[in-house]
Symmetry: C2
Amino acid sequence: MAEIDTASFVPSLAIDCVVFGFHENELKVLLLKLTGVDVWALPGGFVDKNKDLEKAAIDTLEVRTGLTDIFLRQFHTFGSIARNDPNHPKFLIDKGLISEDLFDWFNQRFVTIGFYALVEYSQVKEPVPGPISEACEWCSVNDLPPLMLDHQEIVEKAHKALKRELSYQPIGLNLLPNQFTMSELQALYETILETQLDRRNFRRKILSYGILKDTKKFRTGVAHKAPALYEFDVSAYKKASQAGLNMGW
Amino acid sequence: MAEIDTASFVPSLAIDCVVFGFHENELKVLLLKLTGVDVWALPGGFVDKNKDLEKAAIDTLEVRTGLTDIFLRQFHTFGSIARNDPNHPKFLIDKGLISEDLFDWFNQRFVTIGFYALVEYSQVKEPVPGPISEACEWCSVNDLPPLMLDHQEIVEKAHKALKRELSYQPIGLNLLPNQFTMSELQALYETILETQLDRRNFRRKILSYGILKDTKKFRTGVAHKAPALYEFDVSAYKKASQAGLNMGW
DNA sequence: CCAAAAGTGTTACTTTTACACCCATGC
DNA sequence: GCATGGGTGTAAAAGTAACACTTTTGG
């Protein structure tokens, strides 16, 4: 059961993180399964009085994934009254997830600031559950388990924000391993955008941005012709990120 | 001096509104001048415990502008520690703006949710100052007076968000009078984007979206050739808004 | 009659789309 | 040797950018 020092937190405020990963051609999000019930939640938490919002998100992510230096972006703040289910605190207590003392804290109206994060799936060795959860797992965004409160809406809004981001900025550096094939990069784009793209046109366009480096290496050991391996040219990538060019897909 | 019932507010939370208007080829924002000092602030306020964030913003705007049904969009939440100037509460008390009893309330760490609004300049007959301000005026975004706390940063971020919005959605319905000339619409785009556009190409492109209706009327009484007056085709405009087409300028 | 803004069309260029063939590899 | 995905080129279409002349009006 969670024992927390609520006095150290900013009242009424929470953060929630939608951590995106990419694996087997699926866009995944990291979710926590609450102990003893089939209800899942986004990693997140309360905001320490002496901590920037962003830092609160970074710290949460470090605990869950072991990763530092994660790509993070604030995308929306959820603050409707309706999101505060009056039965929720009681639910948590009944299930033995939090102590009865915490009723008042959890019974507040919370406004939550939503962040999304992009991480390389394979670098998250073993996602770490929190005090009130028994599992931390990747779930496909297209096949989400039952989520707590309005967390489903938060995931959807994050996905939408990510899609939009794709039109402005290069994406991939934070989601793919160091080296990857053109097809893998394309699959990432197709997955995020939920659409199909022409192989040849995709290649031409993405190369035209000058953010890829040909490693002169090939992925071997797989069936068929060995595909070339690319890396991001990090400095060009970052320049393109800042310029924020219009890259309509 | 402001007397407020802090008990009815969500602690730690505030909203700030960047109200954009367009007048004499300038992008303006509505600002409040604090009584007795040359410090200006964004319209905003605290969030009533029983009010949605959005509703809190709407209500603030109604009080200041007299307008209901304002175009409103949440664009960022400002939550760094650094934004809470420890001298600020004392400053307000010293200047006689708030009573000493309110020190603790104003001395909290506040996280503020930023909204921007688009309104038709001429419809705001007489902007209304608040309890701690003596004036409410339009100021050019390119020539802002000294602003309270991080309000300058908030304005800048809102302008950036508005610029970005322009690439996704038609804009103008909320900023221009019912009828307007092509040049006025172009001036609005140029002002928001801070760039020059080719007259002929602009006309062709904006007409191609099918969101304008030719009123068959002309602006008379001005020098030179009488320009045609257009209106937005509201249903087409809204359709385009929802579709969110890529309209790179 | 002239200065100033309004209105209109064409051409070159760039970007996007659609599509078909050969290549290399593991099985 | 063949099925499968990898790699390449080209032509048509659409969209964008650059640019010049005529029209109308108030002064």
